[in-house]
């Protein structure tokens, strides 16, 4: 009767435990930190209902357990309920990751009936005006009534708050609002800088003092609220010199399917030029996960160079994030520059330093919208 075993976590054992379906890149919001590709509007051939169902069945066969319906805004898919029902029937823990836009009472009731287990709802600020400006669309009132409706339908809620220098001041109020409405979890996720967020990094990246302030408020709230509200605070990798164990390693436990059926080891992976990601329309998912060149590319540590290859933390952080290495150093096999052992660490340090210097209140943000930037223009490399 050992009780220690009860706390065993799954290490994946080579299975894609976490499956995320990005049902669409369409979204009514214009968040300037969106992690969808910069050329999202050029991807139109979304998988059909039957194709998504096949993905669900095939992923269960290779061990997927947690299922996230994401986007874009997944509520824009009228077949969401049908897919949730299929996922639940197959034994997944079904999560909906949504802005809340379009999440009507009728659809909530139907989603409940179809077996949806949990909802992750994004919120940007406790102040209506600030929230709406940040996402470029009037949405605050709708989000507030959606939270209440979700709670009255009895779903557990994770409130997802992407932290930037535009909402550090809202931490306390958001926590109070969550506690009042019976939300179970808040995730303050410091924005990770890819795609739209990277484009807007100079405006979004908080100072270290702002992050310390936010974390201190979170710790106070944890003491005050105890078990009734679980607050996650995702520490940003820019500030402590240690890279994140991105996706728990490439092709280790996470599988994302993009709207057009591209299979990805993480949601950002399409930023890697020259990697051909296999599509579920053309290939068997078991082959994609276990054998395809794209999923083998950075799996394990045989791809590593110095200093990663000699590092005693390589099993802990897997050299950090391949996408960040590529975006900031031009080579995905480099050490993540968020690591203080990287010879490119100065790139991160200078961004952090610039955040202190750039106190310009009206740094322009490029809102996520069609045609806002040209994602196809490539710099000519020297």
């Amino acid at each position: 009767m050992g009780k220690g075993g009860s706390q065993l976590k799954l290490d994946g054992d080579g299975k894609p435990l976490w499956l995320v379906l990005e049902l669409t890149y369409r979204c009514p919001l214009k968040c300037p930190w969106c992690n969808n590709p910069l050329d999202y509007d050029e991807i139109r051939n979304e998988l059909t209902t039957d194709e998504w169902k096949r993905v669900l069945r095939d992923a269960r066969k290779i061990g997927s357990l947690q299922l996230g319906f994401s986007g874009g805004e997944p509520m824009l898919r009228p077949d969401l309920e049908e897919l949730v029902e299929e996922g639940d029937k197959l034994g997944y823990y079904t999560n909906l990751i949504t802005s809340g836009m379009g999440l009507t009472k009728e659809r909530l009731i139907e989603l409940k009936r179809c077996g949806l287990k949990q909802i992750q709802l994004s919120l940007q600020h406790s102040n209506k005006k600030k929230n709406d400006v940040m996402v470029g669309v009037e949405s605050f009132d709708e989000k507030m009534s959606v939270i209440e409706e979700i709670k009255s339908q009895g779903f557990p809620v994770v409130l997802n708050v992407p932290l930037s220098r535009y909402n550090v001041d809202a931490v306390d109020d958001i926590i109070d609002m969550a506690a009042r409405t019976g939300v179970e979890y808040i995730e303050f996720a410091n924005i990770q800088y890819y795609n739209w967020a990277l484009l807007n990094r100079a405006a979004l990246l908080p100072t270290i003092e702002q992050i310390e302030y936010a974390e201190e408020r979170v710790n106070r709230a944890r003491e005050r609220l105890g078990k009734s509200l679980t607050i996650y605070f995702v520490v940003p990798d820019y500030f402590d010199g240690r890279p994140k164990a991105c996706m728990n390693g490439w092709g280790a436990i996470h599988l994302t399917i993009a709207p057009d059926g591209s299979a990805l080891p993480c949601q950002e992976a399409q930023v890697l030029d020259g990697v051909e990601f296999p599509n579920v329309r053309d290939h068997d998912l078991g082959w994609i996960w276990h054998q395809s060149p794209a999923f083998e590319m950075y799996r394990g540590n045989s791809w590593m160079k110095k200093p990663c290859v000699d590092c005693d933390e390589k099993e802990k952080d897997f050299g950090g994030c391949r996408c960040q290495a590529y975006l900031l150093t031009g080579d995905a096999t480099n050490t993540d520059p968020a690591c203080s052992k990287s010879r490119h660490f100065d790139i991160i340090q200078s961004a952090v330093e610039a955040a202190r210097i750039n106190q310009m209140p009206q740094m322009p943000l490029v809102m996520r919208s069609r045609g806002a930037i040209n994602g196809k223009m490539k710099l000519i490399k020297p």
Binding site: M1, K3, S6, K9, G63, L65, G91, P156, V158, K227
Partner: protein, 96 residues
């Protein structure tokens, strides 16, 4: 911070916190607890205890059934220890 040390009374009926999904997973040959941010794979004894936390059975009944299941009369302490841990982690609650 937590009230995890509050022991269950013998006549209380523990149940799985509805935030968690508890079920058998054939591929893992184990009971799992699935919840919004994660997956917990339970060992055999933990799984068998939680299986009985259905909001119907009292602690007294659960212990009696487990004694039969494990063929061991001296398991009460272990069961209570596990339940305290499970309660502390928010996996189970006493049904009102």
């Amino acid at each position: 911070m937590t009230s995890s040390n509050a022991p269950f009374a013998l006549n209380e009926r523990p149940e799985i916190n509805p935030v968690f999904l508890f079920r058998w997973e054939e591929q893992e040959q184990a009971y799992l607890l699935l919840y919004p941010e994660g997956i917990i794979k339970l060992n055999d004894s933990a799984g068998n205890i939680l299986k009985l936390c259905d909001g119907e059975r009292t602690i007294e009944t659960i212990v009696a059934e487990l004694k039969v299941l494990f063929g061991n009369d001296n398991i009460e302490g272990d069961v209570y220890n596990f339940m305290e841990v499970a309660h502390g982690k928010g996996w189970i609650t006493a049904k009102a």
